[in-house]
Amino acid sequence: MKNILLVDDLGIDVMLTRLALQEFAFDHQLVVASDGAEAFEMIREQRFDLLLLDIKMPQVDGFELLARLRAEALAGMPVIVVSGSGLAADRERAQALGVDDYVQKAVDYTGFKRELKAALVRQGCPAG
């Protein structure tokens, strides 16, 4: 079973991601944090197999969380950024911080699911 941490402040995005993961029907447990600070504490306390991370969040955003994880040598798990931003600068910055995959939130659910599924498979999650 994959232990996944989803970090996103928006309820609708959390629900959509959770729904997509359920529809992929692979064995997983999802834990949700609503910002980078909360996620940081969770990662210090338990091991996750995968991090699904939004970038734009209040207080500690996704970039800052990634920087803190690297500084504390806690960035051992694969990281998939799931962001509404399609800016090249955001992608480049994410890559520089060691992100493994970048999923841009699509305008329709089917597209979002397809992109997320492809990223999960690339990161070794058997998303059926």
Binding site: D9, L10, G11, I12, V14, M15, L16, R18, L19, V32, S34, G84, K105, A106, V107, D108, Y109, F112
Partner: protein
């Protein structure tokens, strides 16, 4: 869409068992899911038929829940509906697009209600309020109370929760006790157990006597003397006659005046209505309202083919088809107590005769039944005919003021 398919409705109840509103949707015919364009058309059709140019919103305090797609958010017809009485129900998957979310926020800011389906309710409270005024709770399995408990504990104060499908009154009670705000299910056809009504009370006995006298064209003076035995009945009868547009063109102040203006036949329908609503306890408002809508819908559906004269009989057939449940009697006991024309009896017992098919069609509109299309086709009624009659009956039932 209104020319090719049928509107079906489900009532929404509040925790006090009052009919909060109706959910309207296109019947999913032959497994075909309504397209975005179909659903966009639903708003337009509803706006055209329940929002009167002069009289405004014809459904009084009722809220309409409409199956929605993002295209509805910018349709002109949406602006023709009163925002405080309109709730657009979206599947959460439709809110993936940030532009759609912005449009949803804009209509929310304008006062239109938005319900979200498919929510993970353990995540309620995470910034849903800008997008939604309702979230829909889907019940599955047998332990509805247990599920409702989970949902109630996750409830966010600014969001109202709609439970579906709530199929029994026991489930309804469990959900109401746990703080859910509205319920969708088949309760409109189920008498409320506990404190059961059985048979007719003294007021209903008087009404029954009056019905028999009206059928026999009895003298007005004799009718008045029977009615005088229960002053509350007189008041209620005149209120019904005046609020629902008896057609007299002015306020009717006495039974004698009503009969002299319009004759005996229309009076019978108001007595049937009184009979159904004169129970002191145990009835459910939703069952009563369903009976009124059904009666009026059967009447409107048959008007074109059978003429106005048949209207009273069709109305009576529709009302009587739920009178057994309202009175806690078997249909045979009802028919033994009240003399009805043979054609009405045939409709009630077998859905046969000249009125039976119209009654069956009116019933099917309450049940998202696949029979709606074939029943309408057999009566040479187009979907537009049925849909217009359906919304008109819904509006008429509000004008009667059952819970007023």
């Amino acid at each position: 869409m209104h020319r090719t398919n049928f509107i079906v409705r489900e009532p929404l109840l509040d925790p006090r068992q009052r009919v909060l509103g109706y959910e309207l949707s296109w019947q999913q015919h032959d497994g075909r899911v309504p397209t975005g364009l179909d659903l966009e058309g639903l708003v337009g059709f509803v706006a055209e038929h329940v929002n009167h140019v002069d009289q405004g919103w014809l459904l009084r305090d009722k809220i309409l829940f409409l199956d929605a797609v993002p295209a509805m958010l910018s349709t002109d017809a949406l602006h023709a509906l009163p925002p405080e009485r309109t709730v657009l129900a979206f599947d959460i998957r439709q809110l993936t697009d940030v532009d759609v979310r912005s449009a949803v926020q804009a209509v929310r800011a304008g006062g239109v209600g938005v319900a979200i389906r498919g929510c993970d309710l353990t995540l309620l409270g995470r910034n849903l309020a800008p997008y939604a005024s309702y979230v829909e709770v889907r019940f599955t399995g047998v332990d509805v109370a247990d599920q409702a408990r989970t949902y109630a504990s996750a409830k966010h104060s600014s969001l109202r929760m709609v439970g579906r499908p709530v199929g029994t009154w026991a489930d309804f009670d469990a959900c109401a006790a746990l703080g859910l705000d509205a319920f969708v299910g088949k309760l409109h056809l189920t008498p409320r157990p506990g404190n059961p009504v059985k048979g007719m009370n003294p007021s209903q006995q008087i009404i029954l006597q009056l019905m028999q006298m009206v059928q026999a064209n009895d003298d007005v003076g004799r009718l008045e003397s029977v009615l005088k035995r229960d002053p509350a009945l007189t008041y209620k009868l005149l209120r019904y006659i005046n609020t629902a547009g008896f057609g007299a063109g002015r306020e009717v102040q006495s039974l004698r005046q009503a009969i002299s203006l319009l004759g005996y036949a229309p009076l019978y329908r108001w007595l049937v209505l009184l009979l159904a609503t004169a129970s002191a306890s145990g009835y459910s408002l939703v069952l009563m309202e369903t009976a009124v809508v059904r009666g009026r819908l059967a009447e409107l559906l048959g008007q074109k083919a059978l003429g106005r004269g048949a209207g009273e009989h069709l109305f009576v057939a529709g009302m009587f088809s739920l009178l057994d449940r309202l009175l806690g009697l078997s249909m045979q006991e009802v028919l033994d107590a009240i003399q009805l024309p043979d054609e009405v009896v045939k409709a009630l017992t077998k859905r046969e005769g000249s009125y039976g098919p119209y009654l069956a069609l009116a019933e099917a509109c309450e049940l998202n039944s696949n029979l709606v299309a074939s029943l309408a086709a057999n009566l040479a009624l187009s979907p537009s005919d049925v849909n217009e009659a359906h919304l008109s009956a819904l509006a008429w039932a509000q004008s009667v003021g059952l819970d007023g």
